[in-house]
Amino acid sequence: MASRLLKNRHVLGWLEAAPLTLVLLAFLIAPIVMIVIVSFWGATEFSIYPAFQFDNYEFLFGSPVTYRVFWATLKYAFITWALTLAIGFTVAYFLAFHVRSLTMQIALFLVCTIPFWTSNIIRMISWIPFLGRNGIANQTLISWGVIDEPLEWLLYSDFSVILAFVHLYTLFMVVPIFNTMMRIDKSLLEAARDNGASGFQTLIHVILPLTKPGIMIGTIFVVTLVMGDFITVRFMSGSQRANVGRLISNDIGLLQYPSAAATAVVLLGTVLIVIAILLRFVNIRKEL
C-alpha cells in the first residue's frame, strides 16, 4: 500500500517539493506575514501591543518626509543602476570579447573579485579618510593646484553615497553580464562582420539584445540591494541623507517596531512594483 502510494507520481511530486516549500514557508512567507500583521499593531515607548489600527500607515503617508525619502531611495537606485550598468557592461565586454585566452579571462575575472575579500563595511568606511576634508583626495588635488580650497562635497554627500554604492555593487552587474556574454555564439559575431556591420553596430544589434537577461539579473540585484540598504547611506552621508532603510532602522532603534513594519511593507511593495516593471521588458525565464 505504502509503496504504491509512493509510486503515485502526484504524491511523489508533492513529496519532492515539500522540503523547499516548508523552508520557504518558514523563512520567507511566515516572516513577511508577521511583518504585515505587526504593521497594524500599536506601540508604547517600550512595548508593542496587538491591535488593528491604521495609525502607522496614517503617520507614514501623512508625513511629507516619507515622500522625500522614497524619492531619494529611487534616485539612489536609478543613478547607481545607470553607473553600475555602464561600468559593468564595459568590463564584461572587455573580458568576454577582448581578452582572448580563457586562462586570462578567468584570471582577470578573479581580479575583479579581490575587493570582496574584505567586508562590505570596511570597503565602505575606507572611503571616509580618503574623501575627507583633509583627506588624500583633497590634499592631492590641492598639491596639483587643481583646487585652492578642499572640496566639501566629496564626503557626507549624495556623491559619496553613490560612489560607495557603485564601488560595492558593480560586481553584481559584471558577473551576470559576463556570464551571458560568454554564452553568445561567436559565429553570430562573425556573421555580423561578414555582412558588413561595424563594431558599434554589432554591439547594438547583436551583443546588446543577447545580453539582456544578464543585464536584467544584474539590474534586479543592484536595485534591490540599493533600495534595501541603510548602512551605506548612514556612514557615507554622516546621517545627513536618508533612504527608506534608514527610516526603518531609526524606528527600530527607537523601539517603534510597528511603525518600522509599516514602512517595510510599503518598501516591499515598491520594490516588487519596480521588479514587476523590469520583468515586463525581459522574460528572464525564456532567455536563460
Binding site: F46, S63, G238, S239, Q240, L254, Q256
Partner: protein, 426 residues
Amino acid sequence: MAILAKPKVGYSRRSLLKTGGAALAATALPAPMIWAQDTKDIVLRQFGTGVSNLNDVANKVKEDLGFTLEMTALDSDSVTQRAATQPDSFDIADIEYWICKKVWPTGNLQAMDTSKIANYDKIVGIFRSGKLTPESEIAQGTAPHTVGFVEGPGGTSFASEETGWMTLIPTIYNADTLGIRPDLIGRPIESWTELLNPEFRGKASILDISSIGIMDMAMVCEAMGEIQYGDKGNMTREEIDKTMAIFTEAKRAGQFRAFWKTFDESVNLMASGEVVIQSMWSPAITAVKSRGIPCVYQPLKEGYRSWGGGIGLSSSLSGMELDAAYEYINWYLSGWVGGYLMRQGYYSAVPETSKNFMTENEWGYWFEGKEATDVITSPTGDTLAQAGETRDGGSFYDRMGAVACWNAVMDENQYMVRKWNEFIAA
C-alpha cells in the same frame, strides 16, 4: 566592623583580614569562611550602558567581595527596553535617571532601604535634596532627586523628598557641553548658539540619540532667544515642533557635517577636522587629546546639560542575592570605583571616599580644578594632561553648579521620537 561581621553574605576572608584587622578576624574567622564559600557561588547579572559597565569593576568585585558580577553593556534604548520588559533577565540595572522614570512604573525594580547604605549621608546633595549646595537652584529636566525616592518598599509613584527608600543608588554623573577644536576656530566660544552659527556651516555636528540630542537642541534654541521653554525637560508639542523646525532649517542649509551615534564616530569627526564644534561626551574629548590634537570641553555661559546614572535592583532579587547586592552597593560607594571613574573625568556620588583612591595631584586636577602638578593618566595608563594644565570648566562645584538641565524623558516622548526621526530623514 560589627556590621560586617554579622553572618550574612559579603566580605571574603581576605578583605575582612585587610579591613578588619587580625584581632577581629581571629574571632570571626570560622564564620566568614563559610560565607565565603556561599558567596563564591553567587552570580549577579548587571546590565547597563557602556560608561560604567567596566570589566575592571567586575574583576575587583570578585577580588574584594568574592562573588561574580556578570556585565552586559547595551545602548540606552536597549537598556530601557530590557529593564521594562524582561525583569528576570537581570539582577542589577545600571541605568540613567531618565530611564528610571520610564521603567519604575512597570514595577520591575525594588526600592532600596537607605539605612542599609553605609555612606548614604555622604552622597552628594544633587541626589538627595536636589541641591548641590544649599544655595543651588534645581535645574530643569529629569533631575535625579525627583525620581530618586518612593514612599515605601512597594511605592510606584515618586516622592518629592528623601523618604529612606531609594529607586537608584547614584553611581556616576557628569556635566556635558560642546566640544570644540580651538586651533581651527581661533576665537573664544561662549554660548550654545555657536552650534548654529553660519560661520561653522558644514563643520558642526550633533548626536543622533533623540533623548539627549533634543536637550542639546533646546539649549541652543533657548540661548538664541528663539524659544522660551516652560521646562526643557518636558516640552509641549508646540515647543518640540518649533525646536525641530529651527534645526531642520539649519540642516537643510548645510550647517551639519554629520550626525554621530557612537562614541568612536564623535572622536573621528573631531580628530579628522571634519567638525570643529559638536555635542560631545567627556571621555571623547580625552580620546581626541590623547592623539595630540587640541580639543576643549568648552564651558558655556548658559550652563551644562547633565546626566546621572545609578544602580537599581530587580524586584525578583531576594535572600542571599539581595544581601550580596547591598554589599555590592556599599562597596561601590566605598571609593575604589569612584576613584576609577573620577580619573576618567566622571564624578562619583560620594567624592570624599574616592579621594582615598586618588593621588593628591589627581584629586586636585579632576575635582578641585587645580593645575596638575604632574602628568595625569587615565586608569588604563594613557596620558590625559601634562603638569600645569587645568580641567576644562574648573572644579566640581564650578561644573556641577552650572547645570542648566538634566537628560530627561518627556510626557510627549513618543511624539518627540517621531519628530526626531523626521529630522534625521529631512
